[in-house]
Subunit: 410 residues, 2 copies
């Protein structure tokens, strides 16, 4: 099992707090927005005599609410095609285990959500990375790179759309290419779509469930966590129209008896939320993105293309070792009594050496705090380059040149 790369920094953060330095956490995907009252208030309404096991598939009411949600997305689903899971995490674990035996391989686009490595280790499978590049806005790499890694033991492709950690939203054209690749090599497509609502500038994320000719190949991992700011209730869902994959996932679900029951009860409150709820949440994140993008790209040597979705992005910095920089920010630096905790990007790559001049930022603080974070990063970068003798590293490729450039399909 790999250790969590983000959590390696935790002792440094504790140290900063002991020194009286306030730490702005841009390192974790815990949204700060409130859980809607429509959901949270239901906690007080639970009158069950026994908090008993729920069906392994999920309660009929919760499953119906999931189907209703997907129906609104123009994605009709049958009864046996939805399984309640303990967060999107369990949906991903079940998806990998349903499609692979130990020793099998799954193609994944790096950088990718760190915990894919944990699920892969638990399933005994090997993640085979294809690298996406910051200069392309982390859009999907060209097909010849995918073809180069596919082998006899390849069973599936795993994508995340909108993407954590890059904030990229894949286009119809890109997803069609992925679908063709899966059909060509007889692979499942596991699609992590937990950030579906979070897309900016009129982008509408396309679900893998909408891809033609892929009905039998797609497994979607979804979650209520980010959509409704209920990360702690641990409720997600696995969705597939492949009966064998659904059956395999169901057997695993039966093994662990049931997904959290209280969560399934209060989740029904999501049915009382209208589009205005999502509009407001998305507007807030878009504003944060704008603040960060403008602010960070104005720092010499910082590069990123405009993030398109989710609430993360990867930025290139004028450093040689972002693990060292992130630790330094916590243990050696502060500005006006504050510092910033960021996630070094190395943990999001499977290929050794990649991501050493990149960090991932999660924009889960309000804009005022984000403006302070930008200032801290600007001051911190200058001080760090001086402290580490990095002034000779050129601040090339200023991000202004690349803004909105080279992004396919946009």
């Amino acid at each position: 099992m790999p250790a969590s790369p983000i959590r390696r920094l935790a002792p440094h953060a504790d140290e900063a707090k002991r020194r009286g330095v306030r730490v702005l956490h841009l390192n974790i995907g815990q949204p700060d927005l409130p859980t809607p009252r429509e959901i949270a208030d239901r906690l007080g309404e639970i009158r069950d005599r026994v908090l008993c096991y729920t069906p392994s598939t999920g309660t009929p009411e919760f499953l119906a609410s999931v189907r209703a949600y997907y129906e609104k997305q123009q994605i009709p689903l049958g009864d046996a095609q939805v399984l309640a899971t303990t967060g999107g995490s369990e949906a991903l674990l079940f998806a990998l285990m349903a499609t692979c035996d130990p020793g099998d391989e799954v193609v994944v686009i790096e950088p990718f959500y760190t915990n894919y490595s944990a699920f892969a280790a638990m399933a005994g499978i090997r993640l085979v990375p294809v690298t996406s590049r910051g200069r392309d806005g982390f859009h999907l790499p060209p097909m010849h790179l995918w073809e180069a890694v596919v082998g006899e033991r390849t069973r599936a492709v795993l994508i995340c759309n909108p993407n954590n950690p890059t904030g990229t939203v894949y286009t119809q054209e890109e997803l069609s290419e992925v679908a063709g690749f899966c059909r060509r090599h007889d692979l499942f497509l596991i699609s992590d779509e937990v950030y579906r609502e979070f897309a900016y500038d009129d982008r509408k994320p396309i679900s893998a469930l909408e891809l033609e000719g892929m009905e039998d190949r797609v497994i979607v991992a979804d979650s209520l966590s980010k959509r409704y700011n209920v990360c702690g209730i641990r409720l997600g869902m696995l969705i597939t129209r492949n009966p064998a994959a659904a059956e395999a996932a169901l057997r695993m679900a039966q093994g662990r008896l049931s997904a959290p029951g209280i969560a399934q009860q209060i989740a029904l409150g999501a049915g009382d939320l209208d589009q205005a709820y999502f509009d407001e949440v998305v507007a807030e994140y878009r504003q944060r993105r704008d603040v960060l993008f403008e602010g960070l790209t104005a720092i010499p040597g910082v590069f990123l293309l405009q993030p398109e979705g989710a609430f993360y992005f990867i930025a290139r910095l004028p450093v040689l070792d972002s693990d060292d920089f992130a630790a330094w920010l916590l243990s050696e630096f502060s500005f006006d009594g504050e510092t910033v905790m960021v996630a070094p990007a190395t943990g999001f790559y499977a290929t050794p050496g990649l991501g050493r001049n990149e960090i991932r930022i999660a924009y889960v603080l309000e804009t005022e705090a984000l403006r302070r974070a930008i200032r801290i990063l600007a001051e911190g970068l200058a001080a760090y380059r001086s402290a580490r003798g990095l002034e000779s590293i050129p601040l090339d490729e200023p991000s202004e040149k690349h803004r909105r450039a080279k992004v396919p399909g946009m």
Copy 2:
């Protein structure tokens, strides 16, 4: 993945209900006793603005409450020795994955809790059974049978004490033998102790954590589900004093982010329960056991020794195929408009052919319903033997002869 053997009968139960027959469920371990108000009422007191992720280890408050509970059992635990899990199920999965690689083997006493097979399949490991016998009250088989199955790939022993499905409580003498076996072959001991409170006739179950010289080898899977009638909240814990196993489990826990947060909050209410709560619950189960034991052993050809703990037992019946009998009870039989759903014991054995004349009964109904269930089983057995032409099978070994006999260490 194996299909759940109990759930195979579900369509027959649905069919019975459609015919207007009331089904008494003795097949599943969902206690009917109420969740204590001390726990359930806390749902209405949650005022969190965000239902956010909790620490992967568990909340400090919940972990402290677990340590306090174990302290009362004279088992002191350190901070890093307790991990909150999503039910005992996840604790078992983590324990298997922390100790084994795919292809490794774990010695398990059959009959065993069906879902061990699911967790083993997910972990890619092989369960190697040693058979316990009804005539011995399902106490542990002699050591030479254990020695015969241990091999190069054996990594751990998995026991459940008090036992589901047999209701057996292992003695100090037996557990010492298991400890010696583990030390001799350098194995972990994974001990499922979710029924710890449920022991009758002044038995006090011994935790594997109390075994001397085993501090570094024991991993306990525990759960609040049965102890406090909160099966649906999905909250358990993994406990080990082995730092490497704790670290491996922690990494898996970090991968899935956190155990259910609301569950950890309301679980603190258990601290408000005194010994009277357990006394009352245990007295209720003991009475049910007495009713069932007296009633069933009076049926010709039914055999079991007096169950010692948990709220299950395995009974031998004068039939050749308990799967067929269980299905027949649901689809062909009723008595006064009712029938009984029992779990055929075949699903609790790994060795093919074993358990075909046994059923598992969970006593999760009140005594009045249990008395009716006994009558239904008595009438059903006679009718079934007649319908299937089994009258020639002798009703030998009446249980009265064996009652309280041959049980080691008692």
